[in-house]
């Protein structure tokens, strides 16, 4: 059997298994889409776009449509750690219901602190119940860094004041798959920036199980849903890069996929925000664009229902899907030479210039001294 057939039959088998599981919703996705005014044609277009995004042949389009209908068979637990909920917002905040957000609604979301009505003891019970009922079957999505200093007591949740660290390690034990949604849960994020007083870490640093990172501040809705859909259809983890990011989304640099790339190679740069170059859409490299150091598909998938993305809107990339980007990428609106040397309020170029100057002065002093020494000896 060739690779295509193997993958195709694997996906078909997965759909068969999922369809035998009990449904958790009393309404089908078709019904839900119809009620919200999404036509079947748009739904199929969505399935085709997911197929293309994951770099699969077009024959997989009907399979994605089928598996999306079975999304309610897959229980999901979404935990919030030290974060701003921007990642959830990226997915759910749209001007009209999108297929992505409707899938998210249709999927069996057991626990999500922002979206659920329950609070306090009730919420706690739902989480415990879901983890017990779907033991070994649920997908765990984590948003936010995990503070580890002082036994994780910088983050406590709920009426029993459980630490975020204990909640996430416990939930990870029986999860079928763990996704870190956003840079905070992937790499620690802003609370892990130096000096990191709370000892915040990415989820993969505190749990033993394998974790898929979907970094970004926030990641696009497409990257979140695409990662979910991949797991839904194949039940396995996608090809990952060195930072456990799915290759289909984080395989290329922002720079490689940038619509302003031609201006970079031509040497046409925006010299200040609002100048003629900025109006003409020139490259933002000299305005501190971190696209050359950042792996993501922002220019392709974009944000806010595919309307725009930072570089398109005229601001450089700030490297938000890279580890420790608050420390390594700053200052965000200036090129990397403006990066401050650790512990010094100065840049590499200033320190270098000072050292070279000191060297030249030292040489001069030595040369002058040599003149006198030669005379004395001569």
């Amino acid at each position: 059997m060739n690779g295509f057939d193997a993958l195709y039959s694997k996906a078909e088998e997965r759909i068969r298994i999922l369809s035998e599981l009990p449904s958790t919703k009393n309404k089908t996705i078709e019904k839900l889409l119809e009620e919200k005014g999404v036509q079947r044609r748009d739904f199929m277009k969505w399935a085709a776009s997911i197929t293309a995004m994951l770099a699969l042949p077009s024959q997989f389009t009907p399979l994605f449509a089928d598996v999306a209908k079975l999304a309610d068979r897959l229980p999901l637990i979404w935990l919030h750690m030290a974060e701003c909920t921007g990642c959830s917002e990226s997915l759910i905040r749209s001007d009209a219901p999108t297929v992505d957000s409707l899938i998210f609604e249709h999927i069996s979301l057991e626990y999500h602190e922002t979206l659920m009505a329950a609070a306090g003891w009730q919420a706690e019970e739902i989480l415990d119940g879901a983890m017990h009922k779907y033991k070994g079957k649920y997908i765990l999505l984590v948003e936010g860094g995990v503070p580890t200093a002082m036994d994780g007591q910088y983050l406590t949740l709920g009426p029993q004041a459980k630490t975020g660290l204990s909640v996430v390690t416990e939930a990870a034990k029986d999860a079928a798959a763990i996704f870190s949604i956003g840079t905070c849960s992937s790499f620690g994020g802003i609370q892990a920036a130096a000096p990191n007083p709370t000892g915040a870490k990415g989820v993969d640093k505190v749990v033993k199980q394998p974790v898929i990172n979907v970094p970004g501040c926030p990641p696009s809705a497409k990257n979140i849903v695409g990662t979910l859909m991949h797991f839904l259809l194949f039940g396995t983890l996608p090809a990952l890069d060195r930072y456990s990011r799915p290759k289909w989304a984080y395989g290329n640099r922002i720079h490689d996929l940038c619509e302003r790339r031609g201006h970079f190679d031509a040497g046409e740069f925006v010299e200040s925000f609002g100048d003629e170059g900025a109006k003409a859409g020139w490259c933002l490299y000299k305005q501190g664009c971190k696209g050359p150091y950042t792996f993501n598909n922002c220019s392709i998938e974009r944000f806010n229902q595919h309307t725009h993305w930072p570089v398109g809107a005229g601001h450089g990339c700030m490297g938000c899907s890279e580890p420790d980007f608050w420390d390594t990428m700053g200052p965000l609106e200036q090129p990397l030479d403006s990066h401050l040397v650790m512990g010094l309020n100065s840049t590499v170029d200033k320190v270098g210039t000072t050292l070279v100057t000191a060297t030249v002065i030292g040489i001069g002093a030595h040369a002058v001294a040599s003149l006198f020494m030669n005379k004395k000896e001569g």
Partner: protein
């Protein structure tokens, strides 16, 4: 010339093979080129006037890659010749100087106008350590350069080295850190070059032997030594 062994121990006459001399000047040229093009890449100071068919940045970058690969190859060859070249004995003998406290004090004193510079190999201990550090700097610059390069060109050597270079990238903490370290290595060269040029000229005047000649002809000339031999 009649008795090369004893001469190398005292004041070496034959110093560098032709290959090492060529490699030295090659490095000098490409490091200069890399610094200039590197500054441009870090902060492009020239812009073409209104035409995107002139790929100005891409051309500067292209020269940076060409110089970079020459430096990498020249560096590898030089490391090989350090151990296995026909002139490597004089260089390797300098390890004895590095391990000898007396050699250290002799060299440091000679720089402050006290006494002659005597050594077992062809380098003083501080000089030897400096050259080793510069070679390490070449290695760090080459490796970080390669990590950055595999993201620029994905075929050929770029494609071949993609996976191992990404491992190094992850180990260093992301491409921004790689780029930062790459930038710092350049300052290492910029600080080294004036000291190097000055001390070559200074020690030639001070200790009366051939200065630049050694890197052109391969031979070091000694005024003092000849005088000593005449007297003896």
């Amino acid at each position: 010339m009649n008795n090369p062994d004893t001469q190398i121990v005292d004041h070496p006459t034959f110093v560098y093979s032709s290959m090492n001399r060529i490699l030295h000047w090659l490095r000098a040229v490409v490091i200069t080129g890399l610094t200039i093009t590197g500054f441009y890449i870090a902060s492009p100071f020239l812009s073409p006037e209104g035409s995107t068919d002139k790929l100005l940045f891409a051309e500067w970058a292209m020269w940076h890659y060409i110089f970079g690969f020459i430096l990498l190859t020249a560096g590898l060859l030089r490391i090989y010749l350090f151990f296995f070249g026909k002139d490597s004995k004089g260089e390797l003998d300098s390890v004895k100087d590095v391990l000898s406290v007396r050699s250290w004090t002799t060299q440091l004193k000679s720089y402050f106008f006290v006494g002659e510079l005597q050594k077992k190999g062809i380098y003083g201990p501080l000089q030897f350590i400096t050259y080793v550090m510069i070679m390490l700097l070449v290695i760090v610059a080459s490796v970080t350069g390669l990590v950055l390069y595999v993201h620029v060109y994905h075929l050929g050597i770029g494609g071949l080295l993609y996976d191992p270079m990404r491992a190094i990238e992850a180990w260093m903490g992301g491409l921004a850190m790689v780029r930062y370290v790459h930038h710092i290595t350049m300052w290492g060269f910029l600080i080294f070059i004036p000291i190097h040029v000055y001390l070559v000229i200074w020690s030639a005047i001070r200790f009366k032997h051939g200065a630049l000649d050694v890197m052109f002809t391969g031979y070091d000339y000694h005024l003092k030594k000849e005088k000593e031999q005449d007297q003896a």
